[in-house]
């Protein structure tokens, strides 16, 4: 049910990109090619962290035209549940791991006359894959990339070589910022907009685009909410007849999986809708953190997205 079987891989390289970011390379354990993917796709990396398995989605940044390995750049998040910390501290070349096959929730719309890409910080990773793809297949695009400083701006050199004048950089420490109004009011008809980065930046770009009259179908954003840590809670799973304890640094989905139940998922970031689960009964508060459910569905208290959302209260019964 969890879509596809995991792929056995070996960590073939770990490269320190800068003080916050490491790049991980994965090759198939059996030496073959990894599955084909398109720019914008992500994989879910399985981490055996102590006694529980953590599964976290990361964008693929390597070229879709070369599947001899997969590469993900991961920024260390000291406040997160520990997925990135695990990757930074524990994962070494030669280690055997499991990853999911790629899935793409942030694909290029190839009908576009032009692709306008806006990245903030580590949000650059899907665009590394997409620009590799477009370099090969052709296509009109430009990339606007905001970083804290030249030192913390990952892949400025690679992108500079690849994109030349199509790369526009903005350095926070030099007080440079993107003028979204100007950018979004001067694009030729037929442009598709892609944005990935910190949530406030995504929101600002989306609001500006909508206010400027961009139709929804031309607006694309990568909006993984990372499952956040939270207070422990208990969930009863009515179909399986088990009760699971969800730890502070565990997501509800991970706790369900830890009980041996194969629950559906795709993005593990509250964006794709795959993990949607019916709430049969609860006494307390559902803490929704996804970008999937509509407001009325949330208000109904009948659904929850266990990959990112949590619960606070006495009793929670799920149809799982």
């Amino acid at each position: 049910m969890s879509t596809h079987a995991a792929i056995d891989v070996i960590v073939s390289d770990v490269v320190e990109v800068n003080s916050l970011i490491k790049r991980f390379h994965f090759k198939r354990s059996d030496g073959g090619y990894l599955p084909a993917f398109s720019g914008g796709a992500h994989i879910v990396i399985e981490m055996q962290d102590g006694d529980h398995i953590r599964r976290t989605p990361y964008s693929l940044m390597s070229s879709p035209l070369d599947t001899s390995d997969y590469q993900c750049s991961i920024r260390r998040d000291d406040e997160g549940r520990g997925g990135s910390l695990y990757m930074h501290r524990e994962v070494k070349p030669g280690m055997a791991m499991k990853i999911s096959p790629p899935a793409n929730l942030f694909p290029l719309d190839l009908r576009a006359r032009k692709h306008l890409m806006i990245a903030g910080g580590i949000g650059i990773t899907p665009f590394l894959a997409q620009t590799s793809q477009l370099e090969r297949t052709g296509g009109h695009y430009e990339l606007h990339y905001g970083v804290r400083s030249a030192e913390l701006g990952a892949y400025l050199d690679v992108l500079g070589d690849r994109l030349q004048h199509r790369l526009h950089t903005y350095f926070d420490d030099q007080k440079q910022s993107m003028d979204f109004d100007a950018l979004l009011s001067t694009q030729p008809a037929g442009t598709h907009l892609y944005v990935c980065g910190p949530t406030p930046m995504i929101d600002k770009v989306l609001n500006t685009a909508r206010a400027a009259g961009w139709p929804e179908s031309h607006i694309h954003f990568e909006h993984f909410s990372k499952a956040a840590p939270g207070e422990p809670f208990t969930a009863e799973l009515s179909v399986s007849g088990v009760t699971v304890e969800v730890g502070r640094d565990q997501s509800l989905l991970e706790a369900i999986e830890a009980a041996g139940i194969d629950a559906p998922y795709l993005c593990r970031g509250g964006a794709c809708g795959q993990c949607e689960t019916r709430v049969l009964d609860y006494e307390g508060e559902l803490l929704h953190e996804d970008h999937w459910l509509e407001d009325d569905e949330r208000a109904s208290g009948e659904k929850i997205m266990p990959c990112v959302s949590r619960f606070c209260g006495k009793r929670l019964v799920l149809e799982r």
Partner: protein, 204 residues
């Protein structure tokens, strides 16, 4: 005016009613009786709508009076161009789309054949069809593609209908190709070409 009965066929385009959008600029493309939809649109819009808008109007090939054209001219569009037919409006529409900026709302209205053509020209320019506003006015005549020779026949009113290119007698289906902007026509008497079903004028 004919109204469309929407059968339960997924690919069949669905048209709405034009509503003024709050965008910075507007492009309106109308054919024939679509003139009335433009008048209705402007009547609902803020006073400065026409001053921020371009109107391309295809009068239709056989109009004898120019009352529609003059009524539209009186609306005071910033740019107003007319053509004899929908097909004749295409070069100017292409040129206009080339210079258009994202954030301009596009409105299309006219008979079904013209709408098919206008939507296709816009999507070929990279605009997603979901961002276009459309309203059907006038006849239900269809733009049809012969699935055998791929020729396009405009303004098809009968069922079955002859392909204007290869001459096969075609069943005009509700199956619609957005890429081509046409309903699909499939040979109706392939087994026995001497079996010629009577034509009925149903797309009026």
């Amino acid at each position: 005016m004919s109204t469309i009965e929407y059968a339960d066929f997924k690919s069949r385009p669905f048209y709405g009613v034009l509503k003024p959008a709050s965008s910075v600029a507007h492009l309106v493309v109308a054919e024939g009786e679509g003139a009335q939809a433009v008048l209705d649109l402007v009547a609902k819009a803020p006073a400065d709508f026409a001053s921020k808008a371009t109107l391309l109007y295809a009068e239709g090939p056989y109009v004898s009076d120019n009352s529609n054209r003059e009524a539209l001219r009186a609306l005071g569009f910033a740019r107003f161009h007319t053509s004899a037919t929908a097909a004749a409006a295409v070069p100017r529409l292409n040129g206009t789309l080339e210079r258009l900026r994202m954030g301009t709302q596009v409105y299309l209205t006219g008979n079904e054949s013209a709408l098919s053509l206008f939507v296709k020209v816009c999507t070929d320019a990279g605009l997603d069809y979901q961002g276009l506003q459309t309203e059907h006015r006038g006849s239900l005549a269809r733009r049809m593609q012969c699935v055998h020779c791929k020729g396009i026949t405009e303004e098809v009113t009968t069922q079955p209908a002859e392909c204007a290119h290869c001459g096969l007698l075609l069943l005009v289906r509700d199956h619609y190709s957005r890429r081509i902007g046409a309903f699909q026509g499939v040979n109706i008497n392939a087994e026995d070409p001497s079996d010629v079903p009577a034509k009925e004028e149903i797309f009026r």
